[in-house]
Amino acid sequence: MSPQPLSTLIVLGSGGHTAEMLNLLSVLHTDRFTPRFYIAAATDNMSLQKARLFENSFIDKTVVENAQFMQIYRSREVGQSYLTSVGTTLMAIAHALWLMIKIRPQVILCNGPGTCVPLCVIAFFFKVVGIRWSSTFYVESIARVRRLSLSGLLLYKLCMADQFFVQWPQLQRKYPRAHYVGCLM
């Protein structure tokens, strides 16, 4: 017997992250990952629009009702210094906590935007205290060839992803717990 469908949180991000994520979703059985909660940074208005287009592309329109779209405060803008990132990260964590209490996903799919870090930390916390058991999958972006992103490095070092995927063999050699899966794009 097949397992029940799982509520899934999908973290999107500009700069190629969303394109890679939608590429992955297109080969996953969406009926297994239902309902789907899409989250993107509040400053990113393109990603949720792309996700909506993706959801609307399903022939079966009932599937669309299984998708929700949400925005989250960003912990760090591209180019922001690490020092000021501390304050904005705290804000983002509070907001992420609120969203995670509402969603309580069983599966988290993320691929690198900074917004995924607080969400993954909270998911981990929920697991530890027994609020919700979730599986976190992290796919490092194709743009990372030699070094992990900051998000990737944190999740890898803290062992917060149940499975950690990289798209280049050089990275797998450097981070042996990662699974090398080849290029997604």
Partner: protein, 179 residues
């Protein structure tokens, strides 16, 4: 006259320059350089079309009637895909979106890395794909040299990647059956 016009259209060879959603004035400046334009024209390109994004440097327009490259520009467009399709050569910023969209269309590509970005991981992807001969990698300073020395026939077509291996591992981990 009509015949010559049609002939002109069919022999249109466009170099499309794209900076993506941000700004990359040093790239726009680098292509709006007389030596670069002369070299492109010498290689048989007829038009230079620049997507300049939020940049403040405006390139010099030219109709290209006096035996040189025709130059035109725009800030953003919703039909970038069509523009890419019409191009004979693409000069792009190093964003993965632009890179893979161009490679999927099988267009020759020069990626120009923005060295002014703070967290500059962008060069990694461009350099790796250049090592694999899928594209040429340059900086605004080396663009002219790259165009001078490039052999388009040395490029190897990029075969699109596949997300199925990841999907399979995720499904297995969650206890879903393989397809």
């Amino acid at each position: 006259m009509g015949d010559t016009h049609d002939k002109m259209e069919s022999e249109k060879r466009i170099v499309f320059v794209t900076v993506g959603t941000t700004s990359f004035d040093t790239l726009v400046r680098a292509v709006d350089n007389s030596e670069v334009k002369r070299e492109l024209f010498g290689r048989g390109y007829t038009h230079l079309l620049i997507q300049m994004g939020r940049g403040s440097y405006t390139p010099t327009k030219s109709s290209g009637e006096d035996g040189c490259l025709a130059v035109d520009y725009f800030t953003f467009s919703s039909s970038i895909a069509d523009t890419l399709r019409s191009a004979s050569l693409v000069i792009s910023h190093a964003g993965s979106g632009s890179i893979f969209e161009t490679l999927r269309l099988g267009k020759p590509l020069i990626v120009v890395v923005n060295e002014d970005l703070m967290d500059n991981h962008q060069s990694e992807l461009a350099e790796e794909l250049a090592d694999r001969k899928h594209l040429f990698c340059a900086s605004p300073q080396t663009l002219l040299r790259t165009i001078n020395g490039m052999h388009l026939e040395s490029l190897i077509p990029y075969h699109p990647g596949d997300a199925r291996p990841v999907a399979k591992l995720i499904n297995r981990f969650l206890g879903f059956p393989d397809d």
